[in-house]
Symmetry: C2
């Protein structure tokens, strides 16, 4: 790959990281190109589609988050809650976190799987209500993460959800 190509690729990624984070997936691709100081054609030379660019930007962060979910878990409920907290923290600052669930089926599946494991263990321990499914959790989080960009207090929202998830027998 030529030197200027590599340079432009990085410029595009930088611009995309910033604009996806502040405006979410619906930011026009031309705006990303403009921010990067290149034409739209250049973006498409490096990424076949807008989705692919988005995925390249978010995949790293999501994967890192998910990897941290496999950490040692003496308290399964704490492990699940810590993960949800991490998601919320990320989403309260970067707007693309919530879009990732909607836009990229791969990322959604990864999250579903990771949450499913954490959820199952916590439910087996009896500390999280048993009638919640992984799908419920993914979807609920998506809604909550989106809500954070509408003037709500992220910390309060998270506390509400965490408390609501606890098993009735363990208040």
């Amino acid at each position: 790959m030529r030197a200027d190509a590599a340079r432009n690729r990085e410029k595009v990624l930088d611009a995309a990281r910033e604009l996806f984070a502040t405006q979410g997936f619906e930011v026009p691709l031309d705006e990303i190109a403009g921010r990067a100081g290149v034409g739209p054609g250049t973006v498409y030379r490096h990424f076949p589609t807008k989705q692919a660019l988005f995925q390249a930007v978010t995949e790293t962060r999501v994967s890192a988050m998910i990897a941290s979910a496999d950490a040692p878990a003496d308290d399964p409920r704490q492990a699940l809650f810590a993960f949800l907290t991490k998601m919320a923290d990320e989403a309260s600052v970067k707007r693309d976190m919530s879009d990732a669930i909607t836009v990229s089926p791969e990322l959604r599946k990864s999250l579903h799987k990771a949450l499913g494991g954490l959820l199952r263990r916590a439910q087996e321990a009896g500390t999280v209500r048993a009638d919640v499914t992984a799908t419920d959790l993914v979807v609920l989080m998506k809604g909550m993460l989106q809500s954070m960009h509408d003037g709500a207090n992220p910390a309060v929202l998270l506390e509400i959800v965490l408390k609501g998830l606890q098993s009735s027998r363990n208040p």
Copy 2:
């Protein structure tokens, strides 16, 4: 108003009620017109904008819901929870309920006000956590209502939110 005009107005409203309910606000206006058996121009003769049509459809239902919030409230927490349950029930069947909060500033304000009153009374009674604002609640509900159309279990979602809202001192 001419007889055929009134008839067409009703046909448009009927079609809009059905399609907004099943597909939400993003249903193309041409589809509503087609469903009503009229041209797009006819829709615009009766409603100045797509938003106005949407509001005409949802306003009635939302107002009715809000009116029921002023019912006698011996238990403020129960009053609030009953209202939230009503919202959730409505949204689990009709997709336009959640869009109303986003699309129509008027409806959003009405809801905000109604929820604010219910919330304040419940908080004064000490049965709902004191750090939640009306805005938090509106936004949280919006997210939850939207989540109901993504494969989650509406009843479970609602229970989680209701439990999460309770004051820590009243489990």
